[in-house]
Amino acid sequence: MNIREHLPLVEAPQSVWDAIEAAMREGEYRDARRRPRSRIFFAVAAAAIFFVAAGVYLLWVRQWRSQEQWIETSASTQTTLRIGDIGSVKLGPNTRLRVLADRADNHRLQLAHGTISARITAPPRMFFVDTKSGTAIDLGCEYALNMDDDGSGILRVTRGWVSFQWKGLESLIPAGAMCRIKPREGADLPYFEDAAPEFVQSVERGSLDSMLDSARIRDTLTLWHLLSRVAPDDRARVYDRITSLTPVPATLSRERALALDPETLNQLKEELAWKW
């Protein structure tokens, strides 16, 4: 049985309706009062987030920019720059340099002019110094690099060795050796600083005959670099002079060396390094 079918219908008194309407109006008022507060809260929160983000961004930009700021020493000052955890670079007087990268696997400086002395204890190829005339790549070393404004300079290695690269031309300079750096030409032939004066003069003059005549065993450093820098007709003379100064492994192919096969040249270099 459905009771609702038997109940009489009665109209609610007006006072009930008035009370309901009053209650509804009270609720709308409270909501209306709440809405501006929440709007203000969200606006403030958004503004705070914006400013925090902007602040973080500006700090990051400032740090990035500071890495690119030039560091300069005067005629009477020197300073030492720490390179991460891998070593240090001493800036001599009248030196202008900036940091281009300072990451764990890539520390890169740019030397405009002046003298730096680097002492690096990292594995090879983690520390680079860009100049107008090429890039010095640390292979585990200590060295001094002096550059002029026109891009000329001198690189001297005291421990380990350094690779100096310019547009695909590479010079490997071991401890005790040096090389001149020429504008728009990169590194000249490296030579040991204890080489005979006539050998050094022949290197600086570019006199092949004199270089071959005056070379000693240790000067095969220079002759090895010469292999890839002379005309093919002269290459055999250079190679034969190397092998006359010191024997090379029988497995090393003369023909492949004259053809400038990279693997053969590397094998020759590794063998000659025992004489450098």
Binding site: L139, G140, T158, R159, P174, A175, A273, W274, W276
Partner: protein
């Protein structure tokens, strides 16, 4: 008969002895650390390798520093670090000021080798180094230390 055999022995010796002589003698070769192609050695005093050893990984190698410090003789065993390449080693500097020479000793399949390598301010002195087919004697080491120039090698 005995005389006939002797006739053949002498010429045979003349033929084969030079063959043995031409075989490379066991010895050391020294170089700056870059020659080892191992960046772990870049702070080493120098590196060296054995030559003429058929099985270099089995060679027995030792190094000792002998020195004159304020007129007094001193010596100390040195740590020899092997490279990943068989027969290549590095000597780490453990000596201080004074006149010092590193003495290398090695043996390989019954053959002996030795070397006396003076060290100066800029590292080992190649031109003054001496190499032997025997362990260096005390007299040879003394002579090497006395041969230091005034002020030491540069």
């Amino acid at each position: 008969m005995k005389t006939a055999k002797c006739r053949f022995l002498a010429p045979a010796a003349l033929i084969f002895l030079p063959v043995f002589a031409l075989a490379q003698a066991f010895t050391f070769e020294i170089a700056s650390p870059v020659a080892a192609q191992d960046f772990r050695f870049k702070t080493a005093a120098f590196v060296f390798r054995t030559t003429g050893c058929v099985e270099p990984e089995k060679a027995e190698i030792s190094a000792t520093a002998h020195g004159l410090v304020d007129g007094a003789r001193r010596s100390m065993p040195l740590k020899v670090m092997p490279s990943s390449k068989a027969g290549v080693y590095a000597v780490i500097q453990q000596w201080g000021s004074g006149r010092w020479a590193v003495v290398l000793k090695g043996s390989c399949a019954g053959a002996q080798a030795g070397a006396i390598i003076p060290v100066g301010q800029l590292g080992f002195v190649r031109d003054a180094s001496k190499f032997f087919t025997h362990p260096p004697t005390a007299a040879e080491i003394d002579a090497a230390l006395k041969a230091f120039p005034e002020g030491g090698y540069k």
